[in-house]
Symmetry: C2
Subunit: 137 residues, 2 copies
DNA sequence: TATGCCATCTGTAGCGGCTACAGACTCAAG
DNA sequence: CTTGAGTCTGTAGCCGCTACAGATGGCATA
């Protein structure tokens, strides 16, 4: 298979990743510094693959450090697979915790908006509830 | 009622808000600069109330700009209440969108971990799915 | 009075994960 | 030869804190 060299703009188009972000990933060592044609960065299909991987991992909410780890583990046999699983499972726990947090917020907000709609209270129910002292921590 | 002056440490304890954060809120104009006893900031019960308000609004996920707006609307009659409602409703929409995002992540992650457990696949299912090209954007 | 020791002070820099410039250059087409 | 799009480097900004360093303040104890 041919591997035609592409420039950063094309890489950006193919992966949906911002040009500035690509250069940022290079700066922080998440993407390797590609060879240059003249002054311009010259990418190949491997870069498209790797950057796509990064983007998809980011969409799943992995931090850049986690993505780095995943990249290191990619293609490393069954032992690596177990490590990947651990990483994913712990990230999943995170995600679920964040969902739980947001649901708590959602409930309170929805209640407040409702109280507002139903409201014959003297004063705004949401403001009132924000002023209500439930003590520290 | 007396309004005994308290120092920043006590304000922190009463509100559960970090000392550095209190000073930060002052710098950005979210909390007023209090009078000083000597060089030390001297707070009263109003400050405890206001900071508690801020903290609770933050816990509901309002941005600092939104909190600023809410503070401006607090205690402003029924017209303000409508504005507060609008703000809260739009924030609620945000929160719901974030929940939806996270749930999408959760599903994919949970599936991947499961595939990993069930796995007799050649190669790590999660890694594979991250490499799978679903095209740009 | 000297000595700790904690609380507080100011100022600045760092985190993550980008994003947004400014100002220079390269390169192909018209 | 000029124009325009693409790319380059470098730096600074965003949010919402958090974490220092290094100087004071004020109180209790020896």
């Amino acid at each position: 298979m041919a591997d035609p060299a592409i420039q950063i703009g094309e890489l950006s188009r193919r992966t949906g990743c911002n040009i500035e972000t690509i250069r940022y990933y290079e700066r922080i060592g998440l993407m390797p510094a590609p060879p240059r044609r003249g002054r311009y960065r010259s990418y190949g299909s491997q870069d498209v693959g790797r950057l796509g991987f990064v983007r998809r991992a980011r969409e799943l909410g992995f931090t850049l450090d986690e993505v780095r780890a995943l990249l290191g583990l990619a293609g490393g046999g069954p032992a690596s697979c177990a490590e990947v699983r651990t990483l994913a499972a712990s990230h999943l726990t995170d995600v679920r915790a964040r969902i739980a947090d947001l649901k708590r917020m959602e409930r309170v907000l929805a209640d407040s908006v409702q109280a507002c709609d139903a409201g014959e209270d003297p004063g705004c129910p949401l403001i009132q509830s924000l002023y209500a002292d439930r003590g520290p921590s």
